[in-house]
Symmetry: C2
Subunit: 397 residues, 2 copies
């Protein structure tokens, strides 16, 4: 009576596994600044809460497997406002961006086939790849190069006969990189040349700073049937706990395959879709002050860190993460030590060791990811406490 290999081999969430140390610190009365996970502190819009209040019916019924028509239409309209020509018939509502990833992996590949992903990457891709028995092949990027995509040749070298898709996440979690049109072009041409799908995780698409804008892979008409976009309301509307995402595809076979996966799990939560609809009805203007707030936070974090001797980092162009190479050998040990041993005026900080964002063994051991999800005052204090901890750690080890 042994559990399955996939249940044994699937990686424990590297972000969540250190959580018990933080819980222990809190139980001892220590204040912990959490800049380890992408849980924003932006207030969830009032209209979302109102939708929950007003959502009452006689019976809390199943909805359609592909999500409610209203919500699918409003998502299409939202993309249209960014000049992306999709309709509700290209949209399937998913239970969070997570399910959109799982469905996408499963729709393009079978057991043992490969999906090529630049690393470091969002750690849950690993979880879903293991769960779906798909192999991730990593294309290693470098913090020194600002995690830019390499040349076409270098990308092509990682494509094998088993490769079914390339996955790009832009704006990127965990690096904060926003790929340029030129970088995207390289991947688009390879996707076409090697007859692949392009899965694009664009859940941070509004989180782009310095007056730049995000280019969606949906804008490349010549590969329109190859593109599957993963979307989510979690970060956009600060609704992480709602678990509403979407798959967007203009490929009818992919759409129908994913619809059948969706039918097996019946439907996304009914009331949460009403809440999401209310959020979309705010229109694209809602996001402007949110973007400004995050740009300010990014600047505070970047300026706050840059005088640390021996670190390597690039200013993020989007999302709300940064990867920082520290002049220490084992960042997981450092992160744990911060939670168990280090106190600064009875406070400490939790960041994420970056190793879990790499597929290649040994990579990222000297890097951390910081999420700038706290408001100015708390973020400044967190940086201060973090720097004090790093200094102390380096004097000890």
């Amino acid at each position: 009576m042994q559990i399955s290999r996939r249940a044994q081999e699937i990686q424990e969430s590297p972000i969540r596994k250190l959580k018990p140390y933080a819980d222990q610190a809190i139980s001892e009365g220590v204040r912990v600044y959490f800049i380890n996970i992408g849980q924003p502190d932006i207030t969830t819009p009032e209209t979302v809460w109102d939708a929950f209040k007003k959502g009452k019916e006689d019976v809390l019924e199943y909805g359609p497997a592909q999500g409610t028509l209203d919500l699918r239409k409003s998502i299409a309209k939202y993309f249209n406002a960014y000049d992306i020509p999709i309709t509700h018939e290209n949209v399937i509502i998913t239970i969070g961006g997570s399910e959109a990833i799982h469905f996408s992996f499963s729709a393009v590949s079978d057991t043992g086939e490969e999906i090529l992903i630049p690393e470091p990457f969002y750690t849950n891709y690993n979880g879903y790849a293991a769960f779906a028995n798909v192999n991730i092949v990593a294309l290693t990027l470098d913090v020194k190069e600002g995690f830019r995509l390499p040349s076409k040749n270098e990308i092509e070298r990682r494509i094998t006969p088993k490769t079914k898709a390339i996955l790009l996440c832009s704006p990127n979690n965990p690096t904060g990189t926003v790929y340029t049109a030129k970088e995207l072009e390289r991947v688009v041409s390879l996707v076409k040349k090697h007859d692949l799908f392009l899965i694009a995780d664009e859940v941070y698409k509004e989180f782009v700073y310095d007056g730049n804008r995000h280019k969606s892979v949906l804008e490349f008409e010549r590969i329109k049937e190859r593109v599957i976009v993963v979307d989510s309301i979690s970060k956009r509307f600060s609704c992480c706990g709602a678990r509403i995402g979407a798959v967007i595809t203009r490929n009818p076979d992919v759409y129908n395959g994913i619809l059948k996966f969706a039918q097996a799990r019946l439907c996304p939560p009914t009331l949460e879709q009403k809440a999401a609809l209310a959020a979309y009805q705010m229109g694209v203007d809602y996001f402007e002050p949110v973007r400004k707030e995050y740009q300010k936070r990014r600047d505070i974090l970047y300026e706050g860190l840059k005088d640390i001797p021996g670190i390597v980092m690039h200013k993020p162009q989007g999302a709300f993460y940064i990867i920082v190479r520290l002049p220490i050998k084992d960042c997981e040990h450092f992160v744990r030590w911060m939670l168990t041993d280090f106190r600064f005026e009875n406070e400490t900080v939790m960041v994420a060791p970056a190793q879990g964002f790499y597929r290649t063994p040994g990579k990222g051991k000297d890097e951390i990811r910081i999420a700038y999800v706290l408001k100015e005052e708390n973020l400044k204090r967190a940086i201060h406490v973090f720097k004090a901890g790093l200094e102390k750690y380096m004097s000890l080890f």
Copy 2:
């Protein structure tokens, strides 16, 4: 650029695929009685809606991957009230019973391995098996025998070296059968003998009539580490659209494996867990009038159908479904015809063709499943219209 084999091969929901014909009838002004799916019309408890109203916080945040501690505790307590000794450490909250099925399949088996399930069975097992690349082996039961489990030898004959688990659903969807302690014993001893897991879908456990009670496989202490129970609030509290279920296991390896699957999808919806908590706080007494209502409906349906010449059925002991063998050759054709061609005083009825509940090709073509999910007056009318349709159909084909 081909989609995956699993996306091609996964069965379209046989229940949902006829829905467009019903929608068409409705758009023509026809009243359709839906007794094809398990969507109860029982009012969702007020306390559930109140929980949504009162659930407001500043930020709609991620919750724990395994579900909130409060809800896990209240589910354990609910089972304790049925004399089943579990704790919250045996409970993982899932996104509907659907996810509990998917997690269970994936935790016990890898690609190409087998799960043995008596057929007819809940059609979504097929979906998740395809999605998880697991093979379902069917143990065919017979409507004439009231879908009772066969002898130990006959069950054993279907076990192969690839079998990893047996799945039992009791009270059963789609047959309404409630397995006796004796029947369960047979399976329990085989599970032990062949070193298997026992997955038990017990989401209808309160839906047992005539003063009988449901015996949970969790009561068999000698296989306590082999048991995985699939649970859900959907039917129990008429909360289908909430998508809250649970996996219950006292096997630490299974628990940890499923916890890692759960971490990959981050968490179940936050507010829906508050609503579920409120539902559980009503206690076990809440269900008594609901049970009485369903028993009445079962009697109305059974009495209403039994004078149809040439049909074969058994009185269901639980859940809210019945499988009926009709004296016609192709029930899918009949169901579609009812929606497209048959009108009785501008009304018609939608039932489910039973073929989709069988794995074995050709089985169930002459059977339908009826869900007695309508209140007395509507159910009586639906039976009347159904019988008129069946008579007409038999005179035509």
